[in-house]
Amino acid sequence: MENFRNFCIIAHIDHGKSTLADRLLEHTETISNRDMQAQALDDMDIERERGITIKSHAIQMDYTHTDGKDYTINLIDTPGHVDFSYEVSRSIAACEGALLIVDATQGIQAQTISNLYLAIEHDLEIIPVINKIDMDSAMIEEVKDQIIDLVGGKREEIVLASGKTGQGIDEIMEAIISRVPSPKGNVTEPLQALIFDSTFNAYRGVIAYFRIMNGKLNKGDQVRFMNTGNEYVADEVGILKMENVAKKSIGAGNVGYIITGIKESKEIKVGDTITLAKNPCVEAIQGFEDVKPMVFAGIFPIDNDDYEDLRDSLEKLQLNDASLVYEPETSIALGFGFRCGFLGMLHLEIIQERLWREFGMSIITTVPNVSYRAYLKKGDKELIINNPQDLPDIMLMDRVEEPYIVAQIISKPEYVGSIMSLCIEKRGEIKNQVYLTESRVELTFHLPLAEIVFDFYDRLKSISRGYASFDYEITDYRKSDLVKMDIKLNGDNVDAFSSLIHRDKAQAFGRRICKKLRELLPRQQFQIAIQAAIGAKVIARETISALRKDVTAKCYGGDITRKRKLLEKQKAGKKKMRQIGSVEVPQKAFLDVLKLD
């Protein structure tokens, strides 16, 4: 076991984690040059296309070090976006060390700090690496200062590297071998393995990924999942190379996978402990805290007949992404669907995209909202509000509370003014301002979570020309003057467009939605009134005039085919429209109404 090393990588998005991981895979000949494609670990199409890591990926490398000994090294690649920090915390639980990769031209970013603290809390050995030192704008000394400020240590212990040129790879390997402790478990004790991830395979069923703390797991063993109490036979166990490699046995300290023929996603829980039925360990490993989704939105199949398929797809996705939650929901406008909870807007987007790519589901997503708490006058009863429709009658309600966050923003001094105005516009309150160095300032704000859900991050980036990083944590719930805003078409409520919003923001938001809908709704033979209303009070209004002329002037020999195709396309579009009262609403309106530009 002293020859095992398990480590993860902590890095801000784009600081070069995936590229550096590629170099390590090459260096250890885990992947041949022939099979090498950039960002080998990002195996989801969507990860490659967006150039971001969404899922953690585990991979085992066999490596003969300069000391002549053979080592087995497990690398767990992790995502960098704020929405996915729960994936990071799971990787951390399976490791003894972490590479902290910092872009030499960018310095440490807010997000990295919180992930780093997570790793330090778990007693991981931190190996700081300054990456991209090949670039002209590298500020090596300054970044070294930042690192020492955060994690202490000696300047010479910081590895200088370039994923591009391959510089520093040897030093990184040396640091992993000599500085990351070997796992501490005991092979002779009863099996105790932590499930840190799982996926669904159409042929094999559920595949669970684990890290063995103590004992060993053999093919054919009768295993018990301690949390659920279920028992299974280990049909196949193995290690994680570029592909899964079956083994007879996996021992303490190692990382591997198990297939038990489980077909139902809900039978498995990430964070659970695997042990042996005959000789169980005494207690379960402390698993992961359930992540709490903070953004909710309805997801409905475009074709109502696909409801069951959508349920199946969500179930399978959940297995691979424990942070996704859902429950059935019915909408007058959209039919049967699910109210889903997400960690943030990027998470929502990724789920939408994965539903489409991996399951072929065409869906409509409703206006997202955060999770509120409403208190009834009677008995001060607390209700959790994840759907605007669930907000109780104003008369019955004592108050509503919304989640607040503490946000850390690191940027350059020249952008402080604009960042402050943005945060104040978003109902924020400045709490602290610290100059980390002459050219880096850290701002701390209290903000309602709802305000950062939409366009906060994009705007922050644009006002700071990309020189701002942002991280947040939910702190508390505070009383808030929230109202339910409905959108009506010719007097009929479109429930899918309803939202909960702060009273001061309602009118501006209502105007924007009405205006956007005016662009998105096709004209019809009658006039359409689009209204935003709080209760019976209309706060914004747009009108679409009746269609007076819808005729092709010339339709001769050469026009017929083209015209027929055009009208066929129109008809196909109409078939997919939803009827709200007398008004036909195209799918696109549901999808694009939030793209407020």
């Binding site: 033979q525 819808d550 005729v551 002037a553 020999g557 050469g558 017929i560 085919t561 009208l567």
Partner: protein
């Protein structure tokens, strides 16, 4: 080009197929000299069985037709002229970027009649920005006064990706006012009927019986051949069209190959086309014909028209369904609703 066209005529010769109408259109066929026209006719006669009373139309702009040109044309087989008048108001002609002025338009119609062309059709456009109802009415009145037997009236349409669309977007040209167009369509319909014209297709009107035989054939799904770049042909089931690029067209013809693409119309395509062209005309769509595509097509059609019969945009007379006057100006939406996709 004329050479290539004649070559294509010979390439298309199979047995001597009967031909009832010939139409010289697209671009400016009035540029053809008397001799060139006669060469083309000679080729056509050589390859097809042209009916003695064939309708032979030539499209021309008013500025192309002076008395000499008209006299020349009279020496050919052309027996019908389609004249792109567009308007008798200078402002409209300017907006539409036309080469002729109002005076030339009137003179040209009078000269054509003097030269012995009784079969005349003139185009007018309405709904142009700033056109008053009075201007529109007086445009129509001019044609009534000249006793023009066939008139096509088009609502100004801003096609996407045209110069006009671009100018409107850039606010260099006034946008089109739909309410004005709708009103002027109503004016048009009543003026035509008051002057004894039959409204036989959405944009076409004629004195009793004087239909454009050529265009009517398009709307009644009859077969036609198209010769020259971008020309379309139809044989009842297949539609084909020649490549639009002049140079490529000529090159291909020189090598003995007609550069055309063909689309085979499925049953559904045929039904959709029948609905689209049929409803545009006074002849409408007949249930008997629709039944020929099968019971489900008939059922679909009968179900889809209910709301339009109810709101009066369609009417039923025995076995035949037509658009009412109120339905005509909204015909695209109605037609697409009746489509099968």
């Amino acid at each position: 080009m004329v050479e290539a066209i004649i070559r294509e005529i010979y390439l298309r010769k199979q047995q001597k197929r009967p031909v009832e109408t010939i139409y010289f259109g697209g671009g400016t066929p009035s540029l053809l000299s008397q001799e060139e026209l006669n060469q083309i006719f000679a080729a056509l006669k050589d390859c097809f069985d042209i009916a003695p009373d064939a309708e032979v139309t030539l499209e021309a702009n008013p500025d192309d037709l002076n008395p000499e040109k008209l006299a020349e044309l009279k020496q050919t087989s052309v027996n019908r002229l389609s004249i792109g008048v567009q308007s008798f108001a200078e402002a409209d002609l300017l907006y539409m970027n036309r080469a002729h002025n109002a005076g030339e338009a009137i003179a040209c119609l009078q000269n054509a009649q003097a030269a012995g062309f009784n079969q005349l059709t003139a185009d007018l456009i309405y709904g142009t920005p700033g056109m008053t109802d009075a201007t529109w009415q007086s445009n129509l009145q001019r044609l009534f006064d000249l006793n023009i037997p066939h008139i096509s009236c088009y609502a100004l349409t801003v096609e996407p990706n045209t110069a006009l669309a671009h100018f409107i977007k850039k606010e260099k040209a006034q946008p089109v006012d739909e309410a004005q167009a709708a009103r002027q369509f109503e004016l048009l319909v009543s003026a035509m009927s008051a002057n004894g014209y039959e409204h036989y297709e959405i944009s076409n009107f004629c004195k009793p019986g004087q239909y454009s035989r050529h265009n009517t054939a398009y709307w009644q799904s009859k077969s036609y051949l198209g010769i020259g770049p971008a020309a379309h042909a139809f044989d009842g089931k297949n539609r084909s069209w020649n490549i639009a690029n002049n140079a490529q067209y000529m090159k291909s013809i020189q090598s003995g190959k007609i550069p055309s693409e063909t689309e085979i119309l499925s049953e559904t395509d045929q039904f959709n086309e029948y609905v689209m062209t049929g409803l545009r005309t006074t002849w409408g769509c007949s249930l008997a014909r629709i039944k020929s595509w099968g019971a489900d097509v008939e059922q679909h059609f009968l179900r889809a028209i209910v709301p339009y019969l109810d709101n009066g945009q369609m009417v039923r007379e025995g076995d035949v369904f037509r658009l009412s006057d109120s339905g005509k100006f909204l015909s695209d939406g109605i037609i697409s609703d009746l489509f099968m996709v």
